[in-house]
């Protein structure tokens, strides 16, 4: 099986991320599925950045602990990553900067001089040399550079060519197919999914790891019927989104834990007022500022219970780009159908990870048609919170003739006027609960819990979010099962039990200390037998998880 792992490292500001992406595209054009993990500290220039690009014949979503090619823009890359080198690792390095390396030197500064190219194009030299070392045909490079380095393509190509010409082919990465796929980040997949789901407005205050979703949608906005707003702070963000939704426009917001804290009061307001809103919540290492550019999965319980009071909420945790797309769209659609807040729970590994995106995997993902028999009556008799069998009241929006649309954060009657009546309070609480029950029925039809690997194995890994990828791969190696809940609220207990049927040993894999998914399952009567937890901000590599799982299974 062809499976290639490339590490490229350098300083922040060296363009490691886009170099990694270019390499991913090279593999993509050879017919591979790709995945890229990008690791960077919270600073702008200097420090150590690296990207691990992996290519495989099969779908992948995790990095390996060893590199087949190691591209070093500096000595740090050599020093920091000795652990990833094997005897046959091909090292390609900037001869001027990575002086402690051995392998294929690239005379980067000489080439840049010759081409009077700026420093940042050093990447293109390294990539050129790598491509040659990997036996990649020149036309592939030309195509990838033309498509993905639109600025100064010619000069970048000249630089790459010089390096290509001086390097030797060491280990040929075979072409495995003509087809190539879109290569996108989790953030981009979520953004596209939101658009698919009908997004009208995206509102966000920047915060890693969802800032790039803001940037992506802001760039796309001129070509789409969407408004993108970056307001004064996260309180403004969520309330502005509710204003959009009240006026009939589908709004989503994005943030991370700290910003989400500031949104919790608005979340509860959305719950009471029954205003739909989608929150993209990218987890990172906490508590508090923590490791702002590293990963974590420690906000599961927080998002399950955030905001005062009880109200239904949809929480989905996609595990790769396709799921990000599908469930972002569904989150938007279901939020609107049930008039509830929906949270897309990501993590840095997923949101900023880069994946091949296979439309064939998307399948069908349409919610059931609108709840039937719940006809909208506008005009003076309109009641925003009209009681219906499903608990969902037909929405109307301001501007509707003769129709007064009142929403409120107070307990209210059917017309949206405040009440303190005990009986109505109960009825309205039950109305909200009913929506949750209906949503759960629908979720149950949508495939909210997925399984992979050997579905008959009595041993299963339980993984959520970005850990789907690494868990699937390890399960493949060990011949065991993977169970991945995508929907975490309302909890798809029936599906979970089905997915677990025959499982004798359940091992949870989570990027947190408390085993949060495990305790969610425990509260539903399902016991996790072993926990494999990681809380240093770094995602599991395949080898690391394999080792940890084997250890607990010993």
């Amino acid at each position: 099986m062809n499976d290639i792992s490339v590490l490229i490292g350098g300083k922040a500001g060296d363009g490691i991320n886009s170099a990694g992406l270019t390499i991913a595209h090279l593999f993509n054009h050879l017919g591979y599925r790709v995945y890229m993990y990008f690791d960077y500290p919270s600073l702008i220039k200097g420090g150590h950045n690296f990207a691990i690009v992996r290519a495989s014949e099969h779908k992948i979503g995790a990095h390996r602990e060893t590199a087949d090619f190691l591209l070093a823009l500096n000595n740090d890359t050599i020093d920091v990553h000795t652990g990833m080198m094997r005897p046959d690792t091909e090292i390609i390095y900037d001869a001027g900067n990575a002086t402690r390396a051995t392998g294929t030197p690239v005379p980067v500064s000489g080439i840049l001089n010759e081409e009077s190219a700026p420093l940042i194009m050093g990447n293109s030299a390294i990539i050129g040399a790598f491509a040659k070392a990997a036996g990649i045909q020149w036309d592939v490079i030309e195509e990838v550079f033309s498509r993905h380095l639109p600025k100064e393509t010619a000069k970048n190509l000249s630089v790459a060519r010089k390096a290509y010409d001086v390097a030797q082919t060491k280990r040929v990465v075979p072409v495995i197919g003509p087809g190539h796929l879109p290569v996108i980040t989790g953030n981009e997949a979520m953004g596209l999914g939101l658009i698919h789901g009908g997004l009208d407005a995206y509102i966000s205050y920047p915060m890693t790891p969802t800032s790039n979703l803001l940037h992506f949608l802001a760039e796309q906005a001129p070509h789409l019927p969407i408004t993108v707003v970056h307001p004064e702070n996260e309180i403004g963000v969520i309330i502005m989104a509710l204003g959009f939704a009240y006026a009939g426009k589908k709004a989503a917001v994005g943030t991370s834990g700290g910003g989400f804290c500031l949104m919790t009061e608005g979340l509860s307001f959305a719950g009471q007022a029954e205003i739909p809103v989608v929150i993209v919540m990218g987890q990172r290492t906490g508590p508090s500022t923590g490791l702002p550019t590293y990963t974590g999965q420690s906000e599961l319980h927080f998002v399950l219970h955030a905001g005062q009071g009880e109200f239904p909420r949809l929480i989905v945790a996609p595990g790769d780009a396709e799921e990000s797309y599908v469930w972002a769209s569904l989150a938007m659609q279901l939020a609107w159908k049930y008039q509830i807040p929906a949270i897309i729970l990501g993590d840095k590994t997923l949101n900023e990870g880069t994946y091949s995106f296979d439309r064939k995997e998307l399948g069908e993902f349409h919610p059931d048609p609108e709840i039937s028999g719940e006809g909208l009556v506008t005009g003076p008799a309109y009641g925003r919170y009209r009681l219906t069998g499903s608990g969902v009241s037909p929405p109307a929006f301001p501007g509707t003739p003769d129709t007064v649309v009142k929403i409120t954060s107070y307990t209210h009657d059917e017309t949206g006027l405040s009440t303190e009546d005990a009986g109505i309070s109960m009825i309205m609480a039950e109305k909200r609960m009913k929506k949750g029950a209906r949503l759960l029925e629908e979720i149950d039809r949508l495939g909210a819990v997925r399984t992979y690997g050997d579905r008959s194995s009595p041993v299963a890994l339980l993984a959520w979010g970005s850990n789907k990828g690494v868990a699937c791969e390890v399960a493949g190696l060990l011949g065991i099962r993977v169970v991945q809940p995508i929907v975490l609220s309302p909890f798809p207990l029936r599906q979970m039990k089905e997915a677990l049927s025959g499982v004798k040993r359940l091992v949870s894999v989570e990027d947190n200390m408390d085993g949060q998914l495990g305790s969610l399952l425990a509260s539903r009567g399902i016991t996790v037998d072993n926990q494999v937890l990681k809380y240093d901000g770094r995602p599991f590599s395949v080898g690391e998880l394999r080792g940890r799982v084997m250890e607990v299974l010993k």
């Binding site: 698919h196 001129p222 309180i235 204003g243 949206g416």
Partner: protein, 283 residues
Amino acid sequence: MIGRNLITPAKNTWCPGCGNFSLQFALKSVLGELEQSGTSLDDVVLVTGIGCHAKMADYLNLNSIYSIHGRTIPAAIGIKLANPRLKVICCAGDGDCYAEGLDHLIFAAKRNADITVIIHNNRVYGLTTGQYTPTSPLGFRGRSTPGGTTELPINPLELMLASGATFVARGYTRKMEQLRSLVKQGLLHRGFSFIDVLQICATYNNMTDYYHEHVYDLKDHDISGFETAFRKAREWDYNSDARIALGLFYQQVMPTYEDRVFAHPPDNIDSQKRIEEILQEKM
């Protein structure tokens, strides 16, 4: 349908003598007038905070968001960006908008968002039974400061002028004609209108006598001059004894936030097609 009954069946629970009644009346009659002259009340949205003032959302038969404490403004801006045709009014409290949510107010002014913000400035937290607010005078004895506050008030007019508001006025709940006129002008102003209304709180801060002695109407005042407006605004600092000018302090016409945001409306693109294009670009 013209001639909508602007009062809902909700039971009114303001205290007898509360200045909120005047504000309710002013809004009701101005909206009635606007309706007569062609504005559809279907296109009006009221956003309130939380506090006595906020009950306006229950009492006026208008589209409304009875929001949360301090957050009228972001909701209003969201509504306005979602549907610029709507006329959006915020009825906010002084605790609500000058303490809990002051930042939003300044940003609304800075952006010149085309909304009208009316502050029911009773200079006390009414609904939570009488604590000082950012406009209570130094030494105010409220329930959280029984020994008197230890900080000077803000001067909201001054702050709003410094923040770029394009319509800045002060009304008083015992001056109905003027109040109506200010509300009406505010609603007709294109851009951010700010009206600080000295509102009598009959129960916790009845300043009627004081205001009676101190208020006067702005006359021969040049509303187009920032410096004049600013000097007038500083005449009374919400603390010391001074004459209290009422009326429109400042008005200026400037591009609104919505004008700028929608300056380049996107081509009429099919989103699903555009998704495909983006995916193509990423291949």
